[in-house]
């Protein structure tokens, strides 16, 4: 073996060890434990049973939870996709000073580096029955009594998701758009394309990888979430993950594991479907 090659393997060893012990082995064990038996007070009993999966799939509640998760995912995907596309389009093609564009881009990304839980809690004084919006509506006489569905409702959940996850759309779409050669747009205009035509036929197809990457993030974040749903719906709605959360509180690891495996399969299927549509690796490594 050439010393250079040995060096390469030494360089990736730390990464490999972390991924092995904290990703590969744990996921394998989740799969194994999902076939174990659960016994009160004892906990895990090694076994090979499909009972956890049958329990899960024959339970109408889990179908309801998955249905509600997918509903949230689609709604949030649509809103963040449209919002992310136009925010990125504005920054790349409308803001003419590069420094200002970078500054505004940073303004969009800074919240990513702050606490999600805190940002979620900060909606309470805005949306609550005595919150800012209701107070304003009451005082202006637009409504007679406070609107109760602003907080602790599906509406609040969607507001929080859009608030937390839109930047996962903006960043990759911005990156994709920033690489578009402006000369291409000029050529399209010279060839007689309308401005709307340029957006639809040139910018949108060339931002495809960015949109796909953003979509993967949004799908996995919404599908893997349980605390936004728990806090913002006030316990009225659930998500696939809140089923796992409940099982864990009763220390029912096998059923939680089975639920986790099902969730993981759905998430990975959606992700591979999106990766199939667009070669994201080319985009990432480039």
């Amino acid at each position: 073996m050439k010393p250079n090659r040995l060096l390469t393997y030494l360089q990736v060893t730390p990464l490999f060890l972390v991924l092995l012990f904290f990703v590969i082995v744990p996921l394998a064990l989740v799969l194994i434990v999902s076939f174990f038996r659960y016994q009160m007070l004892v906990g895990l009993v090694p076994d090979f049973t499909f009972k956890n999966y049958i329990d899960l799939l024959s339970n109408p509640t889990s179908w309801k939870l998955y249905f509600s998760t997918i509903k949230f995912t689609l709604i949030v995907l649509a809103i963040t996709g449209v919002l992310g596309f136009w925010v990125a389009y504005f920054l790349v093609f409308h803001v003419r000073n590069l420094l200002i564009a970078i500054a505004l881009f940073l303004v969009c990304t800074v919240p990513f580096w702050t606490s999600n839980i805190i940002r979620m809690i900060s909606w309470r004084p805005v949306l609550g029955t005595e919150g800012l919006i209701n107070t304003a509506l009451l005082e202006s006489g637009l409504v007679g009594e406070p609107i109760s569905w602003l907080l602790f409702s599906d509406f609040a959940v969607i507001v929080a998701y859009v608030h937390l996850f839109t930047l996962f759309m903006i960043v990759p779409i911005f990156n994709a758009m920033a690489r578009i050669d402006k000369a291409l747009l000029e050529a399209a205009v010279d060839a007689g394309a309308t401005r709307w035509g340029v957006v639809w036929n040139v910018v949108l197809p060339l931002s495809k990888t960015g949109i796909a990457l953003g979509a993967v993030f949004v799908v996995t974040l919404v599908m893997g979430d349980f605390f936004v749903v728990a806090v913002m719906s006030g316990g009225l709605s659930g998500s696939a993950t809140s089923g796992i959360f409940n099982d864990l509180q009763f220390l029912n690891y096998p059923r939680a594991a089975a639920n986790a495996v099902v969730l993981l399969i759905i998430v990975l299927l959606i992700a591979t479907a999106i990766f199939r549509l667009v070669d994201v690796r080319k985009e990432l490594v480039r």
Binding site: Q11, R124, R195, G224, F226, T241, I244
Partner: protein, 276 residues
């Protein structure tokens, strides 16, 4: 018909400006309202109006009886975030350079890192807890918690390094020309100037993602909570502006980290552009 980037500003510029402004308000508005409310007077509540101005709720935060162990949570979350930051930088920089050559298993490693990004945090949390049980080690924030956080920060670090190193010509590294030693090549020829800002970005991701991580921490930190878990329990127990005060304090720490990182990157770029 002209492009938005040339000539007179089209009407869409104004429509999109308004949309962008509203979006930024939506992004930051609630946070700033929370900051203001955290300075409520002693008789104030969770919503407006402000009843005076005080630091009561900040003081209440660190009195154990009222709000749980916030001080202890800080004393674990900050060191953990710093350790994660250092390890994320070291591991992703070395691995980033390795990925510049083809090697057996590079695809597998890359897709595992991507999978680690995509896997729901709670699923991985269960897995790490079960692994610890099988190995007979208790869950501790400085071990299982640390690993769980690295599984979240390393993929980001790796992707940033890919983006940074993509700009680096392979001829800069590894091939000492005209008698320069390896280290001299690394130091002088653009490797450090190009890689250093990237390392700061990786550090920023490492610190803040660990400091704010909840789902991957939940089962893996053991019996002593880190800050996000403490906040999570407070959302159900604490119904006073102390909750907002905690939000203000942790956000301030995040903003300091972000400011330091962006400031130093801007400083480096500025110095570099002056030199050439």
């Amino acid at each position: 018909m002209s492009l938005p980037s040339q000539g007179r500003r089209p009407w869409t510029f104004y429509v999109l400006s308004v949309m962008f402004t509203l979006f930024v308000l939506f992004l930051y508005g609630p946070m700033f309202i929370m900051f203001i409310l955290s300075f409520q007077g002693p008789t104030g509540g969770l919503v407006f109006p402000m009843r005076g101005f005080s630091f009561t709720w900040f003081a209440a935060l660190f009195g154990q009886a009222r709000t749980g162990d916030v001080g202890g949570a800080f004393s674990r979350s900050l060191p953990l975030a710093l350790i994660v930051m250092v390890l994320t930088v070291l591991i992703s920089v070395t691995a980033g350079f390795a990925f510049r050559r083809r090697f057996v298993g590079s695809g597998f490693l890359f897709y595992t890192a991507v999978a680690s990004l995509i896997v729901p945090g709670l699923v991985l949390s269960i897995g790490i807890l079960v692994t610890a049980r099988v190995l007979g080690i208790p869950a501790r924030w400085w071990f299982t918690g640390l690993g769980a956080h690295l599984s979240w920060t390393l993929p980001f670090g790796l992707l940033i390094m890919f983006a940074i190193l993509g700009r680096l010509s392979p001829s800069y590294e590894g091939r000492p020309t005209h008698g320069a030693t390896r280290w001299q090549t690394v130091r002088s020829t653009s490797v450090i100037p190009i890689v250093f800002p990237g390392m700061i970005a990786v550090a920023l991701f490492g610190f803040t993602l660990s400091y704010d991580e909840f789902p991957r921490s939940w089962l893996t930190v053991g019996s002593l909570n880190t800050l996000p878990i403490e906040i999570w329990t407070m959302t159900t127990n604490v119904t006073s502006p102390a909750l907002y005060a905690l939000g203000t304090v942790t956000s301030a720490i995040s903003f300091v980290a972000i400011g330091l990182a962006i400031g130093s990157i801007a400083y480096i770029q500025h110095r570099r552009s002056k030199r050439t």
